[in-house]
Each structure stands twice: as structure tokens, then as C-alpha cells.
Symmetry: C2
């Protein structure tokens, strides 16, 4: 077939046509080589925003972005390798529990994670709160550790999906971020570069999530599962609620401590339930269990036996961190100051605005508003009360974990304002909104 | 009000919001100064393609583009100054008759025209077929000649609407040309820079026009009239048919000769009618006549008296051309070779594909496929038969006006194939499809 020019391809997409896979492949290669201009590709992105893409087009886009860089070969690891990806929330530290827990159950987890940006935290920042822990290990170390310990948690290397970096940078400045096929290709091109066989997606929905609306979140989850399946991967997605923060901790060291608590069988109910549901799904995709019930039993056995904690210790040690933090989380960085935040009403906590608390934590230094900022592992927020809890005016509802120089009054006001109250005990929606299998 | 960032403005347009006039003004100024990136503006253009613009937004865009450069001040000319703009067709030489004809009737016509590109010809190229004729005169000459002779026909200077040049170049490579508010702002920003008070638009519709579809052409005409009126100009638009070429001549010298013929009271019916309808509308906007009938009478008087021809002679002389061509059009460049094209069927000419003949003339050298090409004034096509004419197989239907090196057989085949025939005498649609007043 004759390959159409970039102007013809933009016009075709603009007019609602599906492009041929080889046309999309050519376009991404030409963009990477600088043969088509950024201003042409951004017009194309806006046309995709309005016209969408078929699953076939999104698969082609994903593959083209994936093969713009290198792909890790984990064929030496003789098992179904499963990863989990979250679309991002506040207080979401499930990855830190999931990787060692699944490895303990015999399912290898090769995990390439990101850093926090805006109101959402990042797994790498949380892990790096562990003294000495390194996430900048090379591909060879990654491949070996996945084989020996069953999991390795690192950051994205420069040669993973460079086309995605370029396209994401363009989307960010052209109001084309919120577009499902572009989101799908961005997520999957990076995840497929890890050498995985299966992927569980935690698609967050609610006021504190990227997708505020359940229908949009469901559409994203379905598209991810459908496109990933067409790309030959075992896929499933769980829609989970992100109105209030997940768990009680928002920050870095404190979130890592809470994730360790989960591996000890403790932790807050919402975080434990979210972690276990994702873990079940990963076990099912990894063929280590046949039913969710069987999976839950296996997970609980590995928690109760302490095996999951042992894998975490091995992983921390293998990545240069101090393994003592697993048994003694008090060795994690501690805040200079703890300031209580008190309830301004009596009754029940109705909700806690995740977005507000995420942005407040960023302003303390726990996250980033620009990608080149450093984070402070010691600071953050602890929620002493969660939605549904009974409170009386003056009860401690949260704790600020601060540096001495912070303006505790202003920060306390922001955290306090993020709480809403109700006279009647509220009915809390379940954490899992929907499951989408492949 | 707080001015939103470019990303917020792109997102607002993407989501179907109307932007504030000052936001559009800022955006065009920032684009001109290089403060917003081309890739951002092209994403905005594609969002406009899908979401459109209100008339208020289009007025703001027109003004911002207009004031990106200099505006001619013709306030010293004490009359309503009227111009005409055509959206472009094949064989459309009405401007060359209209400017002197209207000036003869007392209505000043300050006319800044363009060159041919693609299948459509350009007024400047046709005028430059007159030996010595200059269209690159400065603004001071333009202002003086409009005052003394009543008309001056020049090309766009570099400082007229530079933002339009930049935006048009981006639209051309991002598939955002065919978008009514962007077309309107492009046309009006350039025309308003001439210092006019009133503008008649000749919106071509049909297979040989930019707008193939009557509903789209009508929408463009309405938008032009509405936005121009809001910008304080007297406006009207005529939708005219462009399926077959206008008149009998396609080229440059031969088109100029045909335009002179119109001023002598001759010329083909379709061209004469199109010219007279546009001239009537210009007289009405210029308040030199109260009714179309009164206007027609005034026009015919100025043709019959020879006054229109005299103004043309004055204009040609004032612009450095040889005024003898007006009385002796045989002094215009002549082709090296004339080759007849013969009818392949008997009956009636049903239609002549304007687009095909326009492109054939370009391939002879009468037009351009790229903006930096020169044109050959002597070459072109003469239509010896027009739609509705009776023909017998072997009758001469057209004449190729060629250079000796041209492939007359191949060119003749293309011209021949552009003719279609019918057994019954066809009913020809009127040249004027609709009139839109302000």
C-alpha cells in the first residue's frame, strides 16, 4: 500500500477514519527521528482526542511506542511474570506490599515504577525512604534479581519507550492528556517494556483520581484490558475508589511503614482490602490460584508465615537498602515535628478530600509540582480518623509530620478543611467498584 | 480578569467553550512573539476545527491578526471604499474589470490581490501579463493612486497581517485549512488591512471551488458577512457557481484580454453576468446606487461611454504598464503555438470540469503548484464551446495556447476529457446561487 503523507494522515483521523497499523508505526518512527514536526503531531493528537482510536490502532500505537526503545527479555524466568499498574491516587502504597507478597507466592513481579507528580505519590519515592535503597539499578541486575528473589522494583531507564516521553511531553502542553487511547498506549508501552506476561490495572475513580467519573474510568479499564489482550498479554483491571486517601498515611517513609504493616497482616481496612483484591487478581493471572478464594487463602498463608516479609527483606537488601527497617520500621526517617489536627465538629467523618491532602503533602515537600524536584521522605500526613469513624469536636483527626520550619497552622487548616462531617453514620461505598477480566 | 495559560485555553476550546476576546488577542500576540509554541497553536487550531468559534471570537481573531501588521489609512479618500474578494475559481478574472468599472462610477476600489496557487489563478499574475505592469508598489503610491485614479491593484506587502502568514503556514501542514472561522479571519484580516469600508465576497461553490457543497459555501458566506459587519464594515456576499470555468479564457494574458472585453460590453455571458452582479453589489455598498436596477444602469452607462476603459488605461499607465494593450489587446503576450481540441461526440456540451482545466493550465506553466514558481503569461486554454452549446464530433471545442516544447497531444487529451456531452440541450443553472446581505 502507498503510505499517506502526515497531512493526509492527520486529515484522515480528523475525518474519523481509522489509520492502518503500518501508518501509525511509520508516524511514531518519523516522530522519533524528527521527520515529522511536533506541530503536526500535536494536531494529530488533538484529532485523536476528538475521534478516538480503534483497539487495532491503539495496539499499533502501543507497539510502535514500545519498540521506540529497548524491551527487557525475561524469558529466562520460567513462570508467568505479572505486574500491577495504578493510574495514581493519594496514599496508594499497594505496590510495596504486592511485589514481595506475590513473589512469596511464586509469582515473579518485575516492576518498573514512577515518581510522584502533582497530587499523586510515587512508588520510587516511597521505597527510597528506606536508607540506602536504590531504584536506579541496571537491566542486568533487574533480570537477575527477578530470577533469584522473584521481584525487583526499579525506575524507568532512559531507553524504555523514548517515544512515550516525547509524546507525553507534547500532550502535557497541548491539553491532550485526558484521551483514553493515548493513555492506554502510554501505560502499556512502558509496562510491556518490562518483559511481563500479565498485568493487573488498578484504575482509580473518584474525586482524588485522574478519572473522576465512573463511566470514563470503566471505559479506560476496558480499553486497557482489550488492547493489552490484543497485544498478547493476560490482563485484568479493578476499578477502585479514590475519593478519600487510601489507608492512613500520606507521604513517603510513613507510607512505606504502612505497606510493611500490611505484610504483617495489619494496616487499615481499606488499604488491606485494596491490596488483597489486587494480589488475588495477580495470582489468578499468574496461574498460582484458580479462584479468588484459593488466592486469598494462599496470600494469607504467606503473610501469616512471615514469608512475604522475608521476601521484602531480601529485596531491600539486594537493592542496597537497610533490611532492618522491615522488622524495625522506626528506623525509617522520622519527622522533626508532629502536630495534631483536631475535629471541628462532632458526629462522623463523612469524607476526606484526597486531592487536597495530596497537594498539601506536596507543599510540605513529600511530593513534586515539577519533575526535577527532590522529595523529603520524613514529612507527610497521618489520618487518625477515616471516613465512617465517630468523632467529637476536639478529637485528633490527623497528624502533620513536619520539618521545624513549616507553617503548622496553615497546613493544619488545609488538612482540617479537607474533612467533612455528618450526623448520621455514613454508609461507605466498597473500595472495589468493578472488576474487568480479559 | 485572570488570563488563562495557553494549555487552559486549548483545553477550554477543546471542551467547547468560547474564549474571551482578550484571550484570543493575547494568544495571537504571544504566537507572533514566539511566546507560545507552534505545537500548542496547532493543537488549538485542531480544537477550533472541531468546536468552531462564535462570531465574537472570530471578530477578535480577525482583529488580532489584522493588528499583527500595519493597516493602510485611506481616510484622506472621501468616499466609501469598496473591495471584492473571491474565494478562488478557474477563469475568474472579474477583479480586473471591477476595479476600473467601479472607480469610473465614483466608488474607490483599493485592491490588494494574491497570486495563483494550485488550480486557481491569481489576479496579480494576470495583470502582470501587461508589459511593464507593476504590482509591487509601496503603500504611499497605493494611497495616492486610489485618491487620483480611484483604484490601485497591488500585491500583499510583508507587513500586512504577518500572523495570518504564520497561521496559514501551520494550517496548511496540520490539516486545519477547511475550517470556517479560520478561513473568515484569514480573509478578513488581510482585506481589512487595505483600509476599506465595505467588501463584497464572491463565494464560489461547486466542483471547481474550494467549497464543493452549497450548505458549506452558504455557511462561509454568512460567517464572512456576519463577522465583517461586527467589525464595522458594510458587507455582502454572492454565492456563484464554479463547476465549469468562468468565461472562455484560462491563463493570464488571455484572461486579461477577456476582462478588457467585458469593459467594452462584450465577453461571454456567464463572465459578464458574474461581473455585473458583483459590480452592482459593490455600487450598492458604496452608496452610488439605491437599487440593483439603478446600479446596472449606471454600470452600463460607464461601459458604453468608454469611461471604464479609460480608467483601466489610467491605472495601467500609473502602474508602469503599457496602456496601449487596452485598445490593442493583441499587444499582450501571445502563445508560440495554438492547437485546436476537437469534440469527441455530437449533441450539447453538458459540463467542463473547472478543476481539471485549472490543473492542466498549471502544468502548462500558467499557474503554480508551489508558491515560489514563476508563471508564463502567454500560455493557457481558450474554451471555444461552453456548457449548453451544440456540438458535432470534430468541432473545435477548445484551443491550447502553448509553448513549442509542450506535449500538445497529452494536454489536448486532458482538456478533451474535461468535457462531457449530452443529447438533450441541458438547462444551465444560473451563475448566481444566492445573495447574502448584511
Amino acid at each position: 500500500m502507498r503510505l499517506r503523507s502526515i497531512v493526509e494522515l492527520i486529515a484522515a483521523k480528523r475525518d474519523g477514519q481509522a489509520l492502518a497499523p503500518e501508518e501509525i508505526t511509520w508516524m511514531i518512527q518519523a516522530l522519533t527521528k524528527g521527520e515529522i514536526a511536533d506541530y503536526q503531531f500535536s494536531a494529530f493528537l488533538m484529532a485523536v482526542f476528538f475521534r478516538g482510536m480503534t483497539d487495532e490502532e491503539t495496539v499499533a500505537l502501543t507497539y510502535a511506542m514500545l519498540h521506540s526503545g529497548s524491551v527487557v527479555d525475561l524469558s529466562h524466568v520460567q513462570a508467568i511474570k505479572v505486574d500491577k499498574h495504578s493510574t495514581g491516587g493519594v496514599g496508594d502504597k499497594t505496590s510495596i506490599s504486592l511485589a514481595p507478597l506475590l513473589a512469596a507466592c511464586g509469582v515473579p513481579v518485575p516492576m518498573v515504577s514512577g515518581r510522584g507528580l502533582g497530587h499523586t505519590g510515587g512508588t520510587l519515592d516511597k521505597l527510597e525512604a528506606i536508607p540506602g535503597f536504590r531504584t536506579d539499578l541496571g537491566v542486568e541486575h533487574f533480570k537477575k534479581q527477578v530470577q533469584t528473589i522473584g521481584t525487583c522494583m526499579i525506575g524507568q531507564t532512559a531507553d524504555i519507550a523514548p517515544a512515550d516521553k516525547k509524546i507525553y511531553a507534547l500532550r502535557d502542553v497541548t491539553a491532550t492528556v485526558e484521551c483514553i487511547p493515548l493513555i492506554v498506549a502510554s501505560i502499556l508501552s512502558k509496562k510491556l517494556a518490562e518483559g511481563i506476561d500479565a498485568l493487573v490495572l488498578d484504575v482509580k475513580v473518584g474525586a482524588g483520581a485522574f478519572m473522576k467519573d465512573e463511566a470514563r474510568a470503566l471505559a479506560l479499564a476496558n480499553a486497557l484490558v482489550s488492547v493489552g489482550t490484543r497485544a498478547g498479554k493476560r490482563m485484568s483491571a479493578i476499578l477502585t475508589r479514590m475519593d478519600s486517601p487510601l489507608g492512613r498515611e500520606i507521604g513517603n517513609a510513613n507510607e512505606t511503614r504502612e505497606a510493611i504493616e500490611i505484610l504483617r497482616g495489619g494496616g487499615p481496612d481499606d488499604l488491606r482490602e485494596c491490596t488483597m483484591v489486587l494480589a488475588e487478581e495477580m495470582l489468578l493471572l499468574g496461574k498460582a490460584a484458580k479462584t479468588p478464594e484459593e488466592a486469598r487463602t494462599l496470600l494469607q498463608a504467606n503473610i501469616q508465615s512471615g514469608k512475604a516479609l522475608r521476601v521484602l527483606e531480601q529485596m531491600v537488601e539486594a537493592q542496597g537498602g537497610d533490611p532492618k527497617v522491615v522488622e524495625h520500621p522506626e528506623h525509617l526517617p522520622q519527622p522533626e515535628v508532629r502536630v495534631p489536627v483536631l475535629a471541628t465538629a462532632s458526629g462522623f467523618v463523612a469524607g476526606i478530600e484526597a486531592f487536597t491532602l495530596g497537594m498539601t503533602a506536596v507543599s510540605m515537600g513529600a511530593g513534586r509540582s515539577r519533575a526535577d524536584q527532590a522529595v523529603d521522605p520524613s514529612v507527610g500526613i497521618t489520618l487518625d480518623k477515616k471516613p465512617g469513624d465517630a468523632v467529637k469536636t476536639g478529637d485528633q483527626i490527623a497528624t502533620l509530620l513536619l520539618r521545624k520550619h513549616h507553617d503548622a497552622v496553615a497546613l493544619g487548616k488545609r488538612v482540617s478543611d479537607a474533612f467533612s462531617y455528618t450526623e448520621q453514620k455514613p454508609t461507605l461505598p466498597p473500595i472495589v467498584v468493578a472488576r474487568i477480566g480479559s
